[in-house]
């Protein structure tokens, strides 16, 4: 019975061990009861480095760098860009995924849910 869920493009959730792991390289990203972003490397960018302004002036094709920044989150093992977030400078990083591990374990143990061979959750018929 697999105990790992492919929970995001670049994240696996090892349910039994309660760890986040990189889906690409297996790097241990940290405690699955914490924000997985705590286990990633963070780099801040001027949005104009990704979206060229193309024209002069106050309003261009690039977001205004005083209003918004791009945060890139990398896997420390393989360098994959696991996440990105467009945030105003100083705005708290979003805790976007907070899985209820106790509920998940209970539903897997009772057979209400199971994990298929591709690491995907399914309601047991």
């Amino acid at each position: 019975m697999p105990s790992t869920i492919h929970v995001a493009e670049y994240l696996d959730l090892d349910v039994d061990a309660e760890r986040w792991r990189c889906h690409s390289c297996g790097h241990d990203v940290g405690d699955a009861r914490e924000n997985y972003k705590r286990g990633l490397l963070i780099h801040e960018r001027d949005p104009g480095e990704v979206h060229p302004p193309l024209i002069d002036g106050e309003f261009t094709f690039a977001p205004n760098p005083e209003w918004i920044r791009i945060l890139e989150f990398y896997c420390p093992g393989c360098g994959r860009q696991v996440e990105t977030e467009y945030l105003p400078p100083g705005h708290p990083i979003t805790h976007d995924t907070e899985i209820d591990l106790d509920s998940l374990k209970r539903k897997l143990a009772s057979g209400e849910l199971h994990i298929d061979e591709h690491g995907k959750l399914e309601v047991t018929a």
């Binding site: 492919h6 929970v7 995001a8 493009e9 670049y10 959730l13 972003k37 705590r38 286990g39 990633l40 490397l41 963070i42 780099h43 801040e44 990704v50 979206h51 060229p52 193309l54 024209i55 002036g57 309003f59 261009t60 094709f61 690039a62 977001p63 205004n64 005083e66 209003w67 918004i68 791009i70 890139e72 989150f73 990398y74 420390p76 393989c78 360098g79 994959r80 860009q81 696991v82 996440e83 990105t84 977030e85 467009y86 945030l87 105003p88 400078p89 100083g90 705005h91 979003t94 976007d96 995924t97 907070e98 899985i99 209820d100 509920s103 998940l104 849910l113 995907k120 959750l121 399914e122």
Partner: protein, 684 residues
């Protein structure tokens, strides 16, 4: 006054308890007859939808930005045909309001035509209007029908129904609470005259669309009566109730497989009408437990003194756009599918403003909610066997422009330039790119008008329409690109132009799983451009966005925000460059197949610069084809650079947590960073 409170609106969305009679009727609906009965309601509604599009006059009505719906006697939405899913769950608020307040006076009778366009009483914003008819069979109220669509003129302080300069609801023109506008199957002539007066700028589209709604609601009513006569009242009553039960069960089953937990998304916008300022236009906390969802908007910025506010049920309508396109796509359009979903709206936020708020640009205020739901649901759903349905956010730009004045046919008009909004890019999907110029995130089935049709209907020329390179968010899977279209006033001494959309300083949608979002959309016009030369280049097919921006046709580019208040543009001058947003990107751009990057360059969907600098693809200079070895080496270098420059959580927060956007852009935000109300808002 008795306009419904937030609690009453949310309660009205819940399906009514079945009556004893309905319970007894359930038994008369066996499985085979149920399937046929459901299909019969769908056929009736599809006929109604077709009648609706063919009888409407405004560009939005003709495009199919509408919905036709059937309700049971208590006002629960049983099935619909769309169009737009904006109205897929919320019309019961209006019918239940009529049942509660107007049963005695003026009374509810066979042949009544009811009408409303007031968001305070349950709609989206006042251009969205609904005609409702009760269905009486053998003297008894057995059902309701409704036809809803968007008409681009309301008699507001600016043409087009979505004034960016409105300060309160009193600047927004016609706002009709639910009222009876016809009886004995006849639309009152004094009411039609009132619509003509409010719709003076565009009398024909306003009055023709009014009649289209009534005739559509009536067509569905007539077909339902045929069904009642043929199948019997017991069967149809039981069928409706069973459809509600099955829809709810289908929704609960879908939610049950997602892992329980809390999912969050923060999105931002840059303007409230004419005032620029940073806003957290949505802070969504989605709690998923067993077969239920709870959506809490606490942390969304305060209401503002512009029309960029949305009443709560309008926000729910916007969530339905995404949920019906991607989550409940195979379930009937029915209020019962939202039975497992509960909502919390912070008072005096831009998603739950005071009754006197202007909300005619509610469609702009709700873009954050529309984008956040894609993000939160995507995160909850990727770990399940439904992962193929996960996508990054649609463009959700809604870069809508309005043209008004007197047309080349001598007719007063005020209408939307519907091409831009109907050609946004789809968000990148978990297994493939987003569709280019896929459509209108507010109306998945809406159609972009032909250029020939635009030039025939409106006093304008369209020298070019094309895909807009780099408009789709980059990623392993690229967001679909949007379009660019140039508009030139023609065949009239002048036209009036205005535009909504608030994505010229920051973009609202967040990308997903390591992609990037789409670029911002400046509002561009061109002064002193050589128009004859431009048209010649258009004829030859050499005119494109890059050459225009490079100044090849002379003149000067004027850059403003995409939202602009109403202004005249003289004949044979450039009105503006219409651009539609692409979709958000999905996954690390370094994981994108280099061959797909090469094809994107060849197809004009991305620039050479993006291929090299965002996707790290290297080309053979002689052949122009991908150099696989050089690309692999370049990508290895980028991965190594990331590991070298990335900071740990604690290192990063040492600097980050001490920073803040400039004070002068936080006037609309609320408290920093929580977005709570700081000062009460005073409206005139």
């Amino acid at each position: 006054m008795s306009y419904p409170s937030l609690a009453e609106k949310l309660a009205a969305l819940k399906v009514s308890e079945p009556t004893e009679y309905e319970r007894s009727c359930l038994e008369s609906v066996n499985a085979g007859d149920y399937e046929i009965g459901v299909q019969r309601t769908a056929d009736i509604l599809d006929e109604g939808y077709e009648v609706f599009m063919r009888s409407s006059r405004s560009q939005m009505g003709v495009a199919g930005d509408s919905i036709v719906a059937i309700f049971n006697a208590q006002g629960d939405l049983v099935n619909a045909s769309a169009g737009t899913y904006l109205h897929a769950v919320i019309p019961p608020i209006v019918i239940k309001y009529i049942l509660k307040n107007f049963r005695e006076n003026p009374g509810i009778a066979d042949g009544d035509i009811w009408y409303t366009n007031d968001a305070l009483y349950g709609g989206i914003h006042n251009p969205d209007q609904v005609a409702i008819m009760p269905v009486f069979f053998e003297g008894e109220l057995v059902a309701w029908t409704a036809a809803l669509s968007h008409t681009t003129e309301t008699g507001a302080c600016e043409p087009g129904g979505m004034p960016v300069s409105a300060k309160s609801r009193f600047d927004e023109g016609m706002n009709l609470p639910p009222m009876k506008i016809g009886h004995d199957h006849v639309l009152r002539h004094d009411v039609i005259e009132m619509f003509a007066a409010f719709g003076l700028r565009s009398e024909v589209s306003v009055t023709v669309d009014l009649r289209a709604r009534c005739t559509t609601a009536d067509r569905v009513r007539v077909r339902l009566l045929e069904m009642f006569a043929r199948e019997g009242k017991d069967f149809v009553t039981g069928l409706f109730r069973r459809m509600l039960i099955e829809a709810e069960q289908g929704a609960r089953k879908r939610l049950a497989s997602w892992p329980d937990g809390v999912y969050r998304c923060a999105t931002f916008s840059d303007s409230a009408g004419t005032e620029h300022g940073l806003m957290r236009n949505c802070f969504m906390t989605m709690t998923k437990r067993d077969d239920t969802l709870h959506l809490d908007f606490t942390g969304t910025s305060p209401e503002n003194g512009s029309s960029y506010n949305a009443h709560p049920q309008a926000v729910i309508g916007h969530l339905a756009n995404y949920i019906y396109e991607y989550v409940f796509h195979d379930l009937p359009i029915s209020s019962a599918t939202f039975q497992p979903i509960d909502f919390e709206f912070p008072p005096n936020s831009m998603l739950s403003p005071a009754p006197n708020a202007a909300t005619s640009c509610a469609v702009m205020a709700a873009t954050g909610a529309m984008s956040s739901i894609a993000n939160c649901v995507g995160r909850a759903r990727f770990g399940t066997t439904e992962w193929r349905q996960v996508t990054a956010s649609l463009g959700n730009g809604g870069n809508a422009s309005v043209l008004a004045g007197v047309s080349q046919w001598g007719m007063p008009f005020a209408d939307m330039l519907a091409y831009t909004i109907n050609t946004e890019g789809q968000g990148a999907r978990s297994h493939s790119d987003g569709i280019n110029a896929y459509g209108f995130p507010w109306c998945a089935f809406g159609r972009a008008p032909d250029v020939e049709n635009m030039e025939n209907e409106l006093p304008m020329l369209v020298p070019f329409s094309q895909h807009w390179p780099d408009s789709g968010g980059a990623g392993k899977h690229r967001g679909g690109v949007g379009t660019a279209q140039l508009w030139v006033a023609h065949h009239a001494p002048y036209v009036i132009f205005m535009s909504i959309a608030d994505n010229s300083i920051v973009q609202t949608p967040q990308p997903l799983f390591g992609g990037y979002t789409m670029p911002t959309c400046p509002g561009l016009s061109m002064e002193g451009v050589d128009i004859p030369e431009l048209l010649r280049a258009g004829e030859e097919g050499t005119l494109d966005l890059a050459s225009l921006l490079a100044g090849k046709y002379g003149g000067q580019i004027v850059s403003e925000t995409y939202a602009r208040t109403a202004r005249p543009v003289m004949g044979d001058q450039v009105i503006t460059l219409g651009i539609s947003t692409g979709g958000a990107g999905y996954g690390d751009p370094l994981d994108r197949d280099p061959q797909a990057v090469e094809k994107d360059v060849t197809d004009g969907l991305i620039s050479d610069w993006s291929a090299t600098d965002v996707y790290a693809v290297r080309f053979n200079e002689r052949t122009g084809r991908v150099d696989p070895q050089a690309t692999a080496a370049a990508r290895r270098d980028v991965l190594a650079e990331r590991k070298a420059r990335g900071k740990t959580w604690d290192e990063f927060h040492e600097g980050w947590s001490r920073r803040k956007p400039p004070e002068e852009v936080l006037g609309l935000y609320g408290s920093w960073p929580d977005g709570a109300v700081v000062n009460p808002l005073m409206r005139m």
